[in-house]
């Protein structure tokens, strides 16, 4: 399913040293807006628009918010209204070519999962309009203790969705031309040194892993709805919603009307929301259909590994590790899954005996 570098024989490859890579960024910036990873605070990274290419970070573990922030903004005006006139104006979404540079494979897969969500059923123009005219340039990374995308079938070198792919080598990058747009970019840039496709080194090991092959996960999830694992996680989870908000494939939102200080004009806005939050499934009469943290955690994971998967045929977790890295209660999604697998295996065994 995934395009892997070694499978692509006719792919062209060039070499850029680090300086030339920054030159390439300058070249990109001359063509359109470029977005890339930047430092934030003491030890964090975020995607941001490139103003000085020197601020771009080429090697980083992960950003705080995923790339979805550009297509499904954390806060978005759906329409503006005037209460006195009782009418509204549509919000303009301007499309302009954008280049996203320095994107990891799991992140790209995350965007493609969101594409599914917003294309299926009623295709939503807000998201899809923003999504048009985007070019993605991938980059390789060193997995840390939270990444586990390989366990979900996404290699570091998975290049689906990219136009170009930068693979780190000793003193620069091998740049692979994945599609025609990428080829065109390299041609116009013109400073690359053409090289033969290098024999790809073994990928660095992921230390964070899921015990079973990802093909088996939907099957596991058929059998663990009543597992004790959900209660165990719920003892420690404080329901802060971080794992939803930062997940590249979570898309739930809330909508609120807010008026200006004159109480006449206002906006209808939508915000990222999450099924881990207490009010998410509340309805009239103080009824809450997912009151317990165990049922909320279960819902979150079923949304990643079963519910949408049944329809789309793909897992909706891409193994970025954000939910675990940023969880204030140190809850690890791989541990949850591995515990579910153990619990399932245990019960299977008991049945056999």
């Amino acid at each position: 399913m995934n395009q892997k570098l070694n499978n692509i024989n006719e792919m062209k490859c060039q070499f850029l040293d680090e300086n030339a890579t920054y030159d390439f960024l300058k070249f990109l910036k001359g063509r359109s807006k470029v977005f890339a990873p930047h430092r934030k605070g003491e030890a964090s990274y975020i995607y941001d628009e490139v103003s000085d290419v020197k601020d771009v970070v080429l090697q980083y573990p992960r950003t705080i918010q995923p790339l979805k922030k550009y297509f499904l903004p954390p806060r978005e005006t759906l329409l503006s209204f005037n209460i006195d006139e009782n009418n509204f104006t549509e919000s303009e979404i301007n499309v302009e070519p954008r280049i996203f540079f320095g994107i990891h494979a799991y992140e790209m897969e995350g965007v493609m999962r969101l594409d599914y969500t917003f294309e299926q059923g009623q295709p939503e123009s807000n998201y899809l309009t923003r999504r048009e005219q985007s070019t993605f340039i991938g980059i390789s990374y060193e997995p840390d203790e939270y990444h586990f995308s390989k366990s979900l079938g996404i290699d570091i070198d998975s290049v689906d969705g990219f136009s170009l792919y930068f693979k780190k080598t000793d003193n620069g990058y091998y740049v692979y031309e994945i599609d025609a747009a990428g080829q065109q970019l390299m041609k116009e840039f013109g400073k690359g040194k053409r090289v033969d496709i290098p024999v790809t080194k073994e990928e660095p090991e992921f230390t964070n892993k899921i015990k079973y092959h990802y093909n088996r996960l939907p099957q596991i999830f058929e059998h663990v709805y009543d597992s004790k694992v959900w209660e165990e996680v719920a003892e420690r989870c404080v329901g802060c919603g971080t794992c939803n908000l930062l997940c590249p494939t979570c898309y739930c939102f809330d909508v609120r009307d807010e008026v200006e200080i004159n109480a006449t004009e206002g906006k209808r806005e939508r915000f990222w929301d999450g099924c881990m939050l207490n009010p998410f499934a509340e309805v009239a009469g103080n009824e809450n259909f997912r009151e317990k943290l165990s049922s909320r955690t279960r819902h979150r994971l079923y949304r990643k590994f079963k519910y949408i998967t049944n329809k789309s045929g793909e897992l909706h977790c891409v193994g970025c590790g954000r939910c675990s890295k940023y969880c204030p209660a140190d809850i690890s999604i791989t541990k949850i899954i591995n515990n579910l697998i153990d619990d399932y295996a245990d019960r299977q065994q008991k049945q056999v005996i």
Binding site: G41, K69, G239, C240
Partner: protein, 253 residues
């Protein structure tokens, strides 16, 4: 409330005046808002000249028998009652004295004269009368205050958030202070302040009180993970919310 301007009054109870000062930080917005209402002068309100207020804003908590009488009186004469700031909402920092025997507190505060100042445990306004809406925070959160004020002028129910400060913090893509080795009460504290402290590199001290349906033991475990003993964790959580935390959380695991 349609037609003429709504009549609005502010009443002070036992607080630190921090909320008053805080209002000055968003004076411009406030001035525009005040155009839309008819403010009943504080004196007038005291003299009982104005007999009815559409909106009564209450600042400060209840800590003397006189307070109780007064708050009942205001309740009878107002349409919507809004508690402003954590003292009014939960007893706030004032409620810390509830942790000590009341005589001890009075002596510490008034010394010899303690018997001249009868005092009762600090209580939220809602412990005495029905409160329609609450603006939390110590000092009260400006964004929430403006939202409530605007909503009431519009004649609609405000949308009070009941999820964690982390949500607002993540929406802003702040660097999480936990990643800088600090502790933070954001994960269990109610949003509405737009995560103002973490946005400025500070940790959240939980001044807006806990979210509802909080995971009691999980919260303590979390703070322990951040390097606090159960004792310290409790102290941190109770700083602004003694009453709420005592009610919500059955300790001693």
């Amino acid at each position: 409330m349609s037609g003429q301007k709504p009549k609005v009054a502010f009443f002070d109870f036992t607080g630190c005046e921090g909320c008053q000062l805080n209002k000055l930080n968003f004076e411009n917005e406030l001035l525009d808002l005040l155009e839309l209402v008819d403010i009943v002068e504080f004196r007038e309100a005291m003299d009982g000249k104005a007999d009815y207020y559409d909106i009564a804003f209450i600042e400060g908590g209840i800590s003397t028998p006189q307070c109780i009488e007064r708050i009942h009186d205001i309740r009878r004469r107002c349409g919507v009652m809004v508690a402003l700031g954590q003292c009014a909402v939960s007893g706030g920092i004032n409620a810390m004295k509830n942790l000590h025997p009341s005589e001890w507190v009075q002596e510490a505060v008034y010394g010899e004269d303690k018997y001249l100042f009868p005092s009762i445990p600090a209580q939220p306004v809602s412990a005495i009368v029905n409160v329609d809406y609450e603006v939390r925070g110590c000092p009260m959160s400006a964004p929430e205050y403006l939202h409530v004020f605007k909503s009431l002028i519009l004649g609609r129910k405000p949308e009070i958030k009941d999820y964690a400060v982390c949500v607002e913090c993540k929406l802003k893509e702040n660097e999480c202070v936990l990643d800088k080795g600090m502790f933070c009460l954001g994960p269990i504290t109610r949003a509405g302040c737009e995560a103002i402290c973490p946005s400025n590199g500070q940790y959240c001290t939980g001044c807006r009180g806990p979210v509802s349906n909080i995971n009691r033991d999980g919260a303590v475990d979390m703070l322990k993970k951040h390097g606090y003993s159960t004792e310290e964790a409790l102290k941190r959580m109770k700083m602004f919310n003694t009453n709420e935390i005592d009610k919500e959380i059955k300790w001693g695991r």
